[in-house]
C-alpha cells in the first residue's frame, strides 16, 4: 500500500462527496418531493439530514473500531460470513439499480433540454463511456479532478441560484409548514436516500489518509450538502411558486429563464458544461463504488478492470424504461424510498450487533490497558 502514488486527502474526499450529493439539486428529486410537501419542500433536506445523521453517526462509530477497513469487510466480520454476504449483496443490488436509473434520469435531462434530436442510446453510451473512463482511472484521479473543479462548480451553482432571486417573491415560502408538520416528518424519514451516498462512502475508508480525515470530511460535506440542497429547493419555490409541481427539472428550467442583466441572456450555455462535468464526476465516482462492491463480493482484486463491463450492464438496465416519466415517477420514486430506509437500517443493525457482541467494551479495555 505504501508505494501507491497517493491517497485521498480530506479535500478530495469532501469534494467527491459534495459533488455526489449536491448534484441531486439539479435533477428531478425536487419534483418527487414537491408533490407531497409543496412549499415546505425546502425543509426536507434539513429534516431528513437530521434523521439520517443518527444511523450514519453510529455506523462511523462502529467503523472506527476497525481501523482502515471498509464497510463490506466490517459487515462481514460483524454479521458473519453468510449473512454478511447477503447484506452486502443487497447493498450492491440497490446501488446498482440506483446508478442505472439515476444515470438514465440525467440522460433524460440532457436530451430534453439540450440535445433534443440525438437518440437517447447515443447520449447514454457517451455518458457511460466517459464515466467508465473516469472511474477506470481510479478514485485518486476522480478526487483530484473534483477538487480542481470544486470551486468553479459550486460557484456556478451559487451564481445561478443567486440570479434566480431577481424574479422571486420571498414570501412564497409561506405558509411555512406547507402541507403540515407531520407530513414533513413522514416524508423526510422516507426520503433519507438524499444522503444515502454517505453510507456508500464508507467503502472508501482504506483509500483515505486517516480515519480522522474521513470523519471530518464526512461531516463537513454532510452539512454543506444539506444546506446547499435545502437552499436550492427554497430558491426554486420562491422563483416558481406553485408551478414547481409541473416542472420535472426546475434547475434547468431556471437556468433557461434567468439572464445576467439584459444583455447576457441564454446563460444556460455557461452553466450546462459545468453541470455536465459535475455529472461526469458524480457517475465516475458512483461507478467506481459499485465496481468496488462487486470486486469485494466476488473477491476480485483488480476490480478496476470490471468497470467498462459493469458500465455496459448499467447502460442496458437504464435503457429499459421507455419514457422519462417511467424513470422519474415510477421507478426512481420507489428506489428513493427503499434505498434510504434500507441503508439506515443496515447501519443500525451493524452498530447494534457490534454493541451486543461487546466490541465497544473491548475497545475500551484495550485503551485502558
Amino acid at each position: 500500500m505504501e508505494n501507491q502514488p497517493g491517497k485521498l486527502g480530506i479535500r478530495e474526499y469532501s469534494a467527491i462527496a459534495i459533488f455526489m450529493t449536491s448534484s441531486k439539486l439539479t435533477d428531478d428529486t425536487v419534483a418527487l418531493i414537491y408533490n407531497q410537501l409543496q412549499n415546505a419542500s425546502w425543509m426536507l433536506p434539513l429534516v431528513s439530514g437530521g434523521i439520517f445523521f443518527v444511523p450514519l453517526f453510529l455506523l462511523l462509530k462502529t467503523l472506527t473500531l476497525y481501523k482502515n477497513k471498509n464497510l463490506f469487510t466490517v459487515v462481514q466480520q460483524i454479521l458473519g460470513k453468510h449473512i454478511g454476504f447477503i447484506v452486502c449483496l443487497l447493498i450492491f443490488v440497490i446501488s446498482s439499480t440506483a446508478l442505472s436509473f439515476d444515470s438514465r434520469a440525467y440522460v433524460n435531462i440532457i436530451r430534453s433540454f439540450y440535445f433534443t434530436t440525438t437518440p437517447t442510446i447515443i447520449l447514454y453510451a457517451i455518458l457511460m463511456s466517459v464515466c467508465a473512463y473516469g472511474a477506470r482511472k481510479g478514485i485518486q484521479h476522480i478526487g483530484s479532478v473534483s477538487w480542481l473543479l470544486f470551486f468553479y462548480s459550486i460557484g456556478a451553482i451559487i451564481l445561478a441560484l443567486f440570479l434566480c432571486l431577481k424574479d422571486s417573491i420571498l414570501q412564497s415560502i409561506f405558509p411555512i409548514w406547507g402541507s403540515g408538520k407531520l407530513e414533513i416528518l413522514k416524508q423526510s424519514s422516507l426520503k433519507t436516500s438524499i444522503f444515502a451516498d454517505f453510507f456508500l462512502f464508507t467503502l472508501l475508508i482504506p483509500y483515505l489518509t486517516s480515519m480522522k480525515d474521513f470523519r471530518k470530511g464526512t461531516w463537513i460535506s454532510y452539512a454543506f450538502s444539506m444546506i446547499l440542497i435545502s437552499g436550492a429547493f427554497m430558491i426554486y419555490i420562491v422563483l416558481f411558486d406553485t408551478s414547481v409541481a409541473g416542472l420535472g427539472y426546475p434547475f434547468h428550467t431556471a437556468i433557461r429563464f434567468i439572464s445576467i442583466g439584459n444583455f447576457l441572456s441564454n446563460v444556460e450555455t455557461l452553466f450546462f458544461p459545468i453541470w455536465l462535468t459535475a455529472t461526469f464526476i458524480r457517475f465516475s465516482a458512483f461507478l467506481y463504488l459499485c465496481a468496488l462492491m462487486f470486486g469485494h463480493l466476488l473477491k476480485i482484486k483488480d476490480f478496476e478492470f470490471l468497470i467498462p463491463s459493469l458500465a455496459t450492464v448499467y447502460l442496458l438496465i437504464g435503457i429499459i424504461p421507455d419514457t422519462p416519466f417511467d424513470v422519474s415517477l415510477v421507478i426512481r420514486s420507489k428506489i428513493v424510498n427503499v434505498a434510504g430506509l434500507l441503508f439506515a437500517s443496515i447501519s443500525m443493525i451493524v452498530w447494534l450487533t457490534a454493541w451486543l457482541k461487546g466490541e465497544f467494551k473491548h475497545e475500551k479495555n484495550k485503551n485502558s490497558m
Binding site: Y114, P119, I122, I126, P175, N262
Partner: protein, 417 residues
C-alpha cells in the same frame, strides 16, 4: 509493435466518433428561420387556431459597412393549424428554412381568442415546447394578429427582434405596460388566486381619438401623427384563470406596476394636480426604491389589508411658480396634496378590482400566506372569495427628493392676468 499501432488507430477512430456525435444536434444559423413574434387567433374551422409567424432575417443590419443584404428584414405568414407546435412543420410548406422558436420575443393573441375559455389549453403548449423561453412576453392585440404584424412597420428599428425588445423594455420602464412574461402568466395561472395583466397593443389608430391625460389611454387612443408607425403599446388586458375578462388603461396599469414589487419600474413620469392656484398640473418623476410593507388582519369576518407604499417623487415642473426653496410650508402643502391624490387613485383602483375584476391584479395573495400555518388553512380561508370583501387601505409614504433644477422662474412673464 503492430499491436500498438492497431490500438492507437482504433483509439483515434473512437475519439473521432465521440467528437462527431456532437454534430447530431448541430444547427446552422443559415438554415434556420427565427420566429420573433407569434400571433394566435380564432380560426374559421372549429378547434383550430390561426397562427401568424413573424420571422426575422438575421442577415439584415448585422453587417457593418458595405456588403449589407438587400433582403427584407422580415417575413410574415398566417395559416390555420391545430396548435403552434405542429405549425412549425406546416410553415415549411412556404418557408424554405427550418422554423425555430428559440428567439421568440412576443406572443400576440387577439382579444377575441384571449376571451375564449379554450385559450388556456393552447397557450399551455408554450410550456411543453423545448425552444420557447419563459421570458417571452404575452400581449393582447385589439385586431387580428395577422393584421397587427402586417400593419406594424417600425420606421427606425426595422429588425423585428430589436424593435420588440426595445418597445417592451421601455414600456415597462415607463410603467405603462405590465411585465407580462410567459413565466409570470403560468405562475399566476397555476396559483389561481390572482389576476394576470398582459400588455395591450394595436397597430391601428382609433378614429377621432379623445385627448386625455398622459397615461389615461389604452392602445390605439393616442393621437400620434407624423412620419411614424402606428403601433401602440399601452394599457393591459386582465386575465382571470387564463381567460381575458377586462382591460385596464395606462394609468391603472401604471398604478399596478408601482404597487408590484416584482416589476422593475425605472422612469415613471406622471402629472398631478398642483395644490397652488392656477389649477394646473405638476409633472413628477416617480421612483420606488423600497418594497411595500403589507399588513393584514385576516381573522375577522371582513379581512383587513393595509399597504404602505414607499415612493420617491421628483418634481419636474412648477406651473404655479411657487417658491419651494424658502418656504417649508409650501413643501408641506405640496406633499400633502400628492399623498392625497395618490391615495385617492389607489382607493379607486382597489375598488375597481374588488367590484369589477374580483381579484388582485398583482400577487397580493402571496403576502397573505404568512398568516397561515399550512396550505390547508390557507385554502380554507379562500382568498378568491375573501378578496372582494376585504377592507383595503393604502398609505402613500411619499418622499419628495427634488423640487426641480431651477428654483425660481422669472415672475410676471407670460402670466395670464
Amino acid at each position: 509493435m503492430k499491436k500498438t499501432k492497431i490500438v492507437c488507430k482504433s483509439l483515434l477512430f473512437l475519439a473521432t466518433v465521440f467528437l462527431l456525435s456532437g454534430c447530431w444536434d448541430r444547427k446552422e444559423l443559415e438554415d434556420r428561420a427565427y420566429v420573433i413574434g407569434l400571433g394566435l387567433d380564432h380560426s374559421k374551422a372549429e378547434d383550430k387556431i390561426k397562427v401568424t409567424m413573424l420571422i426575422g432575417n438575421p442577415e439584415v443590419g448585422s453587417v457593418q459597412g458595405g456588403g449589407g443584404s438587400t433582403e427584407k428584414p422580415r417575413e410574415i405568414l398566417s395559416f390555420d393549424a391545430n396548435d403552434f407546435l405542429s405549425a412549425k412543420s406546416t410553415a415549411n410548406v412556404v418557408i424554405s428554412r427550418q422554423i425555430s422558436y428559440d428567439l421568440l420575443k412576443i406572443i400576440v393573441v387577439s382579444e377575441e381568442l384571449a376571451k375564449d375559455p379554450k385559450f388556456v389549453t393552447w397557450i399551455y403548449d408554450a410550456l411543453r415546447d423545448r425552444e420557447i423561453r419563459l421570458n417571452a412576453h404575452l400581449a393582447v392585440s385589439k385586431e387580428k394578429p395577422s393584421d397587427y404584424f402586417q400593419n406594424s412597420h417600425p420606421k427606425m428599428e426595422t429588425r423585428p427582434h430589436k424593435y420588440f425588445d426595445y418597445m417592451i423594455e421601455h414600456g415597462i420602464d415607463n410603467g405603462l405596460i405590465p411585465d407580462s412574461t410567459l413565466f409570470r402568466f403560468f405562475k399566476t395561472t397555476n396559483r389561481g388566486t390572482d389576476l394576470f395583466l398582459a400588455m395591450y397593443t394595436t397597430a391601428k389608430k382609433g378614429k377621432n381619438p379623445e385627448i386625455k391625460s398622459e397615461d389615461e389611454y389604452t392602445a390605439g387612443q393616442l393621437n400620434a401623427t407624423g412620419e411614424i408607425d402606428h403601433t401602440q403599446f399601452i394599457g393591459s388586458a386582465v386575465f382571470k384563470d387564463g381567460v381575458m375578462i377586462d382591460k385596464l388603461n395606462g394609468q391603472e396599469t401604471r398604478l399596478v406596476n408601482i404597487l408590484d414589487d416584482t416589476t422593475e419600474i425605472r422612469e415613471i413620469l406622471a402629472t398631478y394636480k398642483d395644490p397652488f392656484p392656477d389649477n394646473q398640473k405638476v409633472a413628477v418623476r416617480i421612483m420606488k426604491t423600497e418594497n411595500n410593507r403589507v399588513e393584514m388582519n385576516l381573522k375577522g369576518p371582513k379581512p383587513k389589508i393595509h399597504i404602505t407604499l414607499p415612493v420617491q417623487f421628483e418634481i419636474l415642473t412648477n406651473p404655479s411658480r411657487t417658491d419651494y426653496a424658502k418656504s417649508k410650508k409650501n413643501q408641506e402643502i405640496l406633499k400633502k396634496s400628492l399623498i392625497d391624490q395618490t391615495e385617492t387613485l389607489y382607493e379607486y383602483l382597489f375598488k375597481k378590482t374588488q367590484t369589477e375584476l374580483k381579484g388582485a391584479p398583482y400577487p397580493l395573495s402571496i403576502y397573505s400566506r404568512k398568516y397561515f400555518g399550512t396550505i390547508e388553512e390557507f385554502k380554507k380561508f379562500n382568498w378568491v372569495k375573501s378578496y372582494p370583501e376585504a377592507d383595503i387601505t393604502v398609505k402613500a409614504d411619499i418622499q419628495i427628493i427634488d423640487y426641480g433644477k431651477v428654483s425660481k422662474t422669472p415672475k410676471g412673464k407670460g402670466k395670464a392676468s
